[in-house]
Symmetry: C2
Subunit: 440 residues, 2 copies
């Protein structure tokens, strides 16, 4: 089955809105085994839209539309597609009741043009919208189908999940089962390693790369969910065999979710001491619902005096080694754990840029620290593209990774280690500091 | 002049990448007075791409391509478009030298397929890429033009700004001047207020809405920059007349940038005490380069005990009024200012959800506090859509807004006020707490 995705709206052509609907639908259609051949964005213009629909209908089996279902004169997707599919629209009392009661609940009254939204296909059918006023629509002619959904992303996604995907699955007489692997590490390398596994018909596997991690989504079409699950599990094994424990979790939204769950499982608490990330690590952790079970204290120690006052960094150590140094990262992590009483702490000190770098510590130099059971671990990171947001994001990601390894009871890789006692010892700090310069 | 934007790449059709290039180019073309009629995403398939180019060429004056300029066999935009525009490609020694030296610098050697990237148009011309290996290309036939740029966003944007936009401006024999207004407040209301100003040919004005604020970008085409500046300024006055001081700044990336600059101008420092935003406010402030001049301390006080220990909230006050309450927000802000010695402090305590709400404090209830000169200000926010990320983002935005008003020496609107002395007084706290319940 082949499809095209069509986003309707002049505001998209003006760049006023970022089109996230098309990406969502691309993934979803791929998972259904439907090949998306083209994606288009068209303005709210009857003639141009009608021409486009007639062309696209000849090219593929399924047209997936978003947008243009509103009450204004500009909203003409439904009228235009109905015409191109030889269908017409009729007023639907039930939809109208829904619309008027929706307006009444928010203390407003409907205008005459709102009646437009209650029009539904005669030969095709409406698709219920449980999250807004505009119903969707389904048209069909000569084996070609068109489905129309709202442009507002959360309404569109809900309608897809509740009304459209089930319909497409029923037609294919199958169910869909997905499994998402989350993998730590850089993009191009990883993609290269697994590329031969990404060209499979069923299950399909797709890779999505983010900063410091990638996601591999495996989707099987099968007669039953149990069979689909088995197919996904078997295919996932191929990735595990290749990638080992770089695969850090399954079916989570990100590293912070895995970290919070792991901390809960081990009844551990975490705190943070952040300099150049400025609260980004704490923010990611607390974006997870239920994180208050394991996270109570975060310190944003942007100034040297804050590092001393809040997490007990020795000002002489800053003076001697520089504020961006392994000894400072170690003392920040140990200090955050002590000040908060947490089991684990992570710290970051670095130069996010664009200014502030020098020959010894160019922009992108970051020390990430962690502490557990009276021991500190320090990792040095260098981000070669001097992009402030990127440096901060990579640093936060690395800190979460260190925290996860410690929560799992592992010694984090590529770290130098130091006891809490040695963190106050001049010779030990010299050695720690030197270890990173010897390496470079 | 009419244009179409064409993104080439099967990975886009699979949804592996979010297409941000199309939005960027839409805005840029609109600013140049070029009407974008359609945006399309096409896979890496020679036949389909050639068909598409021939159709699109007949429909409009300018085709703007991104993607498909890489070294692999899949990358065939240049070859295909050359064919459709009656041009051919020739090997360019200079580009080849650039490519080989680029590889040498990163310690790699080129493969035979890298030579593909050094091929440039014969009748058209190449466009220099200062940020990657793939040059762009310009083709022209019978008054129709095609410009090809890389798909990697930062390379594409740089090539657009350095090579393509100047070329289009030179052809139009004009310069471009832009002015961006940043406006506090909700979307639909604001858009309605200014809608008659958004349909202008020159200067153009476009509105982009984000969480809790909007951006209006005014762009003039003129013979000289001075003339363009004057046109923008005159057009901006119409928005100022309508919106008053909801317009908080011009030509900044966001509220945090204005806040940091305002604090610098007034030689003021800021600190934060965050509960439900969990570091998001500090993170936004420190995303601004140079924020270390004004921001030194941030407290993420996720637990009640952290609120007591780090910023001196009285546990009895939490017990009496609930942790999500005006008295707690007031004590957090005053406490953060005291603990850090900052001139201004902001605080947030709320229920981001999805769990934890009740009849008195449903999910989305947030108290935002601020302190300056021994006085606290509290604002209550309610976000009706129970979306954790949205509640946090709105709360952070509101806190930055309060901080800005205090930095400007204004009394923030819609706040209840309390002196530092009264923040320890039971009757005064009762009154503060009661003020928010009387309102609701």
């Amino acid at each position: 089955m082949t499809a095209e995705i069509i986003s309707v709206g002049t505001e998209l052509l003006l760049g006023n809105i970022l089109n996230t609907n098309a990406q969502y639908l691309s993934r979803e259609l791929a998972a259904l085994g439907i090949t998306v051949q083209r994606e288009s964005t068209i303005g709210d213009n009857h003639g141009r839209l009608a021409d486009f629909v007639n062309e696209a209908k000849a090219r593929c089996d399924l047209l997936v539309f978003t947008g243009g279902l509103g009450p204004t004169a500009d909203d003409l997707t439904k009228e235009t597609v109905a015409e191109c599919f030889g269908d017409r629209l009729v007023f639907d009392e039930d939809e109208w009741k829904k619309i008027t009661s929706y307006f009444a609940r928010s203390g407003r009254s409907t205008a005459p043009n709102n009646r437009k939204q209650a029009m539904v296909p005669v030969q095709g059918h409406k698709i219920v919208n449980n999250h807004g006023t505009a119903p969707g629509a389904w048209f069909e002619q000569d084996g070609h189908c068109a489905v129309l959904m709202p442009g507002v992303p959360h309404e569109m996604k809900a309608m897809w999940e509740e009304g459209v995907r089930p319909l497409l699955l029923a037609r294919q007489n199958c169910v869909l089962h997905s499994l998402t692997l989350r993998i730590l590490g850089g993009e191009s390398n990883l993609e290269y390693k697994v590329r031969h596994l990404l060209e499979n018909a069923n299950p399909t596997a797709a890779i999505y790369c983010k900063i410091g991690e990638c996601e591999i989504r495996i989707t099987a079409r099968a007669a039953t969910d149990a069979e689909g699950e088995k197919m996904c599990r078997e295919y996932a094994k191929k990735f595990y065999d290749l990638l080992g424990d770089a695969v850090y979790d399954e079916d989570v939204a990100g590293l912070e979710e895995t970290l919070v769950r792991t901390l809960k499982e081990h009844k551990l608490s975490l705190s943070t001491a952040e300099s150049c990330t400025g609260g980004m690590i704490a923010q990611r952790i607390t974006s997870v619902s239920g994180s208050s079970e394991v996270f109570g204290y975060g310190f944003v120690t942007y100034w040297a005096e804050a590092k001393a006052k809040l997490v007990g960094v020795d000002p002489a150590v800053i003076e001697k080694y520089n504020v961006v140094s392994a000894p400072v990262a170690a003392q920040m992590a140990l200090g955050a754990a002590a000040a908060s009483g947490s089991d684990i702490a992570v710290s970051v000190t670095g130069i996010a840029g664009p200014t502030g770098g020098d020959a010894i510590r160019p922009v992108g130099t970051v020390y990430v620290g962690a502490a557990r059971d009276g021991k500190a671990y320090v990792h040095k990171l260098f981000v070669s593209r001097p992009d402030r947001a990127l440096v901060r994001a990579r640093a936060a990601q690395t800190a979460l990774e260190l925290a996860l390894r410690l929560a799992q009871g592992k010694v984090p890789e590529n770290t130098e280690q130091l006891s809490a006692a040695d963190a106050r010892d001049s010779a030990a700090l010299d050695k720690l500091n030197g270890a990173f310069f010897a390496k470079a």
